[in-house]
Symmetry: none
Subunit: 211 residues, 2 copies
DNA sequence: CTCAAAATCCCCAATATTGGTGAGAACCGA
DNA sequence: TCGGTTCTCACCAATATTGGGGATTTTGAG
């Protein structure tokens, strides 16, 4: 049973959505509110699994409510919904830790699927939103045409340890291999990344998301 | 009618998926191949609306095929599918312009929905993948809850050099100070960041945007 | 099976880093 | 002017890293 708390200022949508969610098997609607001002209090009271939050709200905006909820109750999943496809809002919501972002949709099944997705630890993005996110992503990172680098499993493991700042000895211990083997892997990693120090390797690992 | 071209080396999955896609209303399967080597040629020949591409392929990897297709045929939608959830592969695929990324799924409806989403100009991400993408996004842009660390100007300068992978000697040269002074600054930096190696300092510098 | 890649381990030697202590000069705000 | 911080430099010693050779075993795909 997934408990849901709904914030939506549009009376019509709030009521019809409430009706639909409440009557869906596997969902339990803890409450539906037109104002997010008391969102944190309500979350504390009902401890919902998923909060469905409209971005446009009269007093406290959905983003502000999201931040407030995440600050006080990090594990509560928050699913943002909106009619607008505003890049700024999407960006803000993601940075604030939203677990999903859906556009208001005529098909109520979409809401249910999204709620289930985030409840199960995933994230749900509407296709349009996903496109925008991917585009933002590309704009940010695609400039450097990073050659695709193929590290072996062990090499990735070792590199991961290096990112954590571990020494050869600690890595050997952690991976349950000898010091000399770590040495070998490191040498191979350096060759593949075209670097010659741990710091450089770590930077490339982070930049290129190799770990 | 959405025409689909499938690349999947696993015979079983390829055939069952072919059957399902071909028998779905609104979809037309142009072809199904076990090898992406001729992907560009095949795309040119069939002009599919959507290419469903497995990441793991024998000769030409899915990522390489994706890049090749996008280079020659920018408007063709490419939907990546994989069993792995590797960050680097997801990252590479997105940067190469993938229109969607789905994990291999027991439910064939998922494939159809994804194909429709990307055909309609959206993007489709599996919940697990969406989570990873959002997390990468947050790591990049969101304010880390950094304890406020006050590095002096010189320390910042030295740390910057360290992020570039420079050695003490090179830093001394670059900052026009002696090797020993660099050493002093490094020691102070380590104390302030509570680390004891260059790698760790570099990671914190990047995470906390100290440079 | 066979072959190549991956993973494992070893040796040696040159450098680099780290940690400790100490100390003079320069700068800046009270 | 006083005191604190920053910046500068030095010396010593213990460790760690890097780069160069190997070599053997395991694994996995064809």
């Amino acid at each position: 049973m997934i408990s849901v708390l709904l914030f939506e200022d549009n009376k019509n949508l709030r009521e019809s959505l409430s009706l639909y969610l409440a009557s869906t098997d596997g969902l339990w609607l803890s409450g539906a509110y037109a104002d997010a001002t008391d969102a944190v209090k309500l979350v504390k009271k009902y401890k919902p699994d998923v909060v469905l939050m409209d971005i446009q709200m009269p007093h406290l905006s959905g983003i502000e409510a999201l931040i407030a909820i995440k600050t006080n109750n990090k594990e509560t999943k928050v699913l943002m919904q909106t009619v607008f496809e505003d890049n700024d809002k999407i960006f803000a919501a993601i940075c604030a830790g939203a677990n999903g972002y859906i556009l208001k949709n005529p098909k109520p099944e979409t809401y249910v699927q999204a709620v289930k997705d985030v409840f199960n630890g995933g994230s749900h993005l509407s296709p349009v939103v996903a496109t925008k996110v991917l585009r933002m992503f590309q704009n940010q990172f695609a400039e450097a045409e990073k050659t695709y680098i193929q590290l072996t499993k062990r090499e990735q493991e070792v590199l991961k340890c290096m990112v954590k700042g571990m020494s050869y000895k600690m890595i050997a211990d952690s991976c349950d291999i000898s010091f000399n083997t770590v040495h070998s892997h490191v040498k191979n990693i350096y060759e593949k990344l075209h670097v010659n120090s741990a710091s450089e390797a770590v930077v490339k690992a982070l930049e290129w998301r190799l770990v």
